[in-house]
Symmetry: C2
Subunit: 283 residues, 2 copies
């Protein structure tokens, strides 16, 4: 409504307040005049960038223990036309959070990936508690803050602060190497120059043709172009038909990377460039 507001960048993230995505958003855009908008699901963040409702969106794409966030990959492949402009890796620490005064825990709620990342801990310490999936770790904290006393949430200590809850156990994640990689998405690609960079593509190769994936990998190998990740996802067309996501070391402005990607595109039934962007290691 006010003219001056339209000057600042609009950024979408997986809300509500207190999510890891919000933490990432605040740290990435530190010092930037931004308007931060929470969305209720990962796909709605991505589609808000696609529709121009926000200029950039931040979504989780991969966890070091649980693997890829499928909805992020599937939405980028099949529903949105966006570029990755930045990645950020954030160590994940999960905690058991309750309303002050809680003595007994019957129900534990969190995001599906957080529940999965603490599966062994929960099997051992809370075998009888029902596990309820909600949209985000912060939504779990909100649920506990507004709900019954026998509920607990698995979430960040930041969520506990935001919602005035007690942290009763810390670092309950099954694996100490637990970290999540986030992507910043935009309709405009960036050209990373003078920094270590990565390029992401997604394509459907001819599954009928024996050795089709081998030939695709050959395009990278013969140019000494390294892959940091290969992920297959169902093409949604039936069993045995997959799309492949490749994360490639280097930028499309590097000649060998551009040549390999061009050759892959030529051999694909369907292809999408998800952009070149600076590499990030654990913060």
């Amino acid at each position: 409504m006010t003219e001056s507001k339209t000057m600042s960048k609009k950024i979408g993230y997986l809300g509500p307040r207190g999510t890891f995505s919000e933490e990432i958003a605040l740290s990435f855009y530190r010092g930037v005049e931004g308007c931060f908008t929470p969305y209720h699901s990962i796909s709605s963040v991505i589609m808000a960038v696609d529709s121009g409702e926000v200029q950039e969106g931040i979504v989780p794409v991969e966890n070091s223990v649980e693997g890829s966030v499928n909805v992020t990959l599937d939405t980028l492949a099949h529903e949105a036309n966006l570029y990755i402009v930045k990645e950020m890796v954030k160590p994940i620490r999960h905690n058991i959070i309750v309303k002050p005064g809680t003595k007994h825990i019957n129900i534990i709620c969190s995001h599906a990936q957080a529940l999965a990342q603490c599966r062994h801990y929960l099997d051992e310490h809370y075998p009888a508690a029902e596990r309820i999936e909600v949209e985000s770790t912060a939504a779990a904290a909100y649920k506990v803050a507004s709900g019954a006393k026998n509920h607990a949430a698995i979430c960040s200590t930041r969520s506990a602060e935001v919602y005035g809850l007690d942290v009763i156990e810390t670092d309950i994640q099954d694996n100490p190497n637990n970290a999540t990689r986030f992507l910043v998405l935009s309709k405009q690609p960036v050209s990373p120059k003078g920094v270590s960079s990565k390029t992401s593509i997604v394509c459907q190769i001819n599954g009928e043709k024996a050795g089709a994936l081998y030939n695709i990998l050959g395009e990278f190998a013969k140019r000494n172009v390294n892959l940091t990740k290969i992920e297959s996802r169902p093409s949604k067309g039936g069993f045995g038909l997959y799309v492949f996501f490749f994360d490639i070391e280097g930028s499309l402005e590097d000649e060998p990377v551009a040549a390999a990607v061009h050759a892959v595109k030529e051999q694909s039934l369907w292809f999408k460039n998800l952009g070149s962007y600076p590499i990030n290691t654990v913060e």
Copy 2:
């Protein structure tokens, strides 16, 4: 307690009554004198076979839309030492099920994969309903049968029958090609002879070495051995370290398959044979 009981085969499946896994178990073991035992989670089915508590277990491994069932792959790779002795593919039909007389739906509960497989339908028809994840589609039906009237479950029509519930909408899955592949697991491998078969292996390759995956795929390609699936999962050791699951056409009793698998094993940091077993197409 009775001696005669110990003569029949003990089979574990993802319970409670009315799950797709139970349907699969009953159809696979039709006519077999079996003792069917429901377990509350996929990992507990697998570990019951591993400990000898049951002789065989049936678990879902892959959905044609949502992709792999991560807990099945991770448990087979890292926690159990079992062989796949059979696969079965089952078309999946999801439905909205309520307690008779329900007028309004606030909460929709189901297994995480079922909720994901109906995501677009739910976004469109029940945008305000809270989605709650429970251990199985049948557990969702049980919850609705024993709970408040504003709850709905996404589950099979069989679950509706088992729990005396009303089916108010049928075939709500987003994708008409929705099917799930199940595995039968045992401590004893089978030797499929005279039938089309498949071999599954899992290995960790040297992620530091450029082109390591390319070389692995070359072992199959140069022997004209086809792969029906490649899946990467985090090795749990940190970002960029993956284990790869390969489904291979043919049995380890076929010389080219055995030679390729032997070569892959030689190049792997870690390797596990998950067995050769008959191929199944949609029932």
